[in-house]
């Protein structure tokens, strides 16, 4: 529900670069942290938040790459956004491994 609410906000807001802020809203985090606190406690949630930092850094890179792929007409929207998920996964795991591992 949290995720859908942010998605609806993104649908109605203009310009699209502003609506895009809500594409990177902490919607998954709000839902997951709430569950983690209720089931495992706050220290567990703090450990999740620590590694979320590296996931968020990877998201910055992911979105920057997608915007360039689309502005430069290198590929279509679906292909660009899906293939770049590999960049997110690789970057976030690498950052986590180097910084926290």
């Amino acid at each position: 529900l949290v995720v859908s609410s942010f998605a609806v906000l993104g649908d109605v807001l203009k310009p699209k670069s502003f609506a895009g802020l809500f594409s990177a809203a902490p919607s998954i985090a709000l839902a997951s942290i709430g569950l983690a606190v209720s089931q495992r406690g706050q220290l567990y949630a703090a450990r999740e938040a620590s590694s979320m930092i590296w996931g968020a850094v990877a998201f910055v890179l992911y979105a920057a790459i997608v915007s360039q792929l689309l502005f430069r007409r290198i590929c279509g929207v679906l292909m660009g956004t899906l293939l770049s998920l590999g960049v997110w996964l690789t970057t976030s795991l690498a950052l986590w491994f180097v910084m926290a591992g």
Binding site: G10, G20, L21, S32, I33, L43
Partner: protein, 168 residues
């Protein structure tokens, strides 16, 4: 550049497009929980910043624009791609706010109530991403548009429309 909302845009979105994003959001929340269960909170935490619904949102933006242009007998593929690119630019700034969200949450949640920590972290997301977006709008250099056939960025298109309205 004025921020506005267009409630009628909700009518362009079909029920199954909402359902798709609802399911994707739910699936990634469950996936993050399962990964945390299997590999620990350190790995599971990475997926709290997974761009779960971004591909679906960007694709919907593009396809809606194409349909809108097709109704007017125009090819909207390029315009759809430009709007999706503008959405991705916004997401870059939103993701910078996501870093602030995680930093504030990590600092506050061990010592304060969970509700306060989550509220403060959400405020940090907004306080970080919104000024960055405003600064970009204020200071970015916009390339001049020399001809009507030249491709425009999604934001330039909005600016041109606003300028035309003022001129008439």
């Amino acid at each position: 550049l004025r921020i506005s909302s267009n409630i009628s845009a909700l009518h362009n979105t079909r029920w199954y497009e909402y359902l798709l994003r609802f399911l994707l959001g739910g699936a990634v929340t469950v996936l993050a929980g399962l990964i945390a269960e299997r590999y620990g909170p350190a790995v599971g935490g990475l997926f709290l910043a997974f761009p779960a619904i971004f591909p679906a949102t960007a694709t919907l933006i593009s396809s809606h624009e194409q349909k809108k242009k097709a109704k007017k007998g125009l090819a909207g593929r390029e315009r759809g791609r430009q709007l999706a690119a503008a959405d991705a630019v916004g997401a870059t700034m939103g993701a910078l706010g996501l870093i602030a969200f995680a930093l504030v949450l990590r600092q506050l949640i061990p010592d304060y109530s969970a509700l306060f920590a989550i509220a403060a972290a959400t405020a940090a997301w907004m306080i970080t991403s919104l000024p960055i977006w405003l600064a970009r709008q204020r200071f970015r250099v916009r390339p001049p548009v020399y001809s009507s056939s030249a491709p425009q960025s999604a934001d330039q298109h909005t600016i041109s429309k606003a300028h035309n309205r003022r001129s008439h």
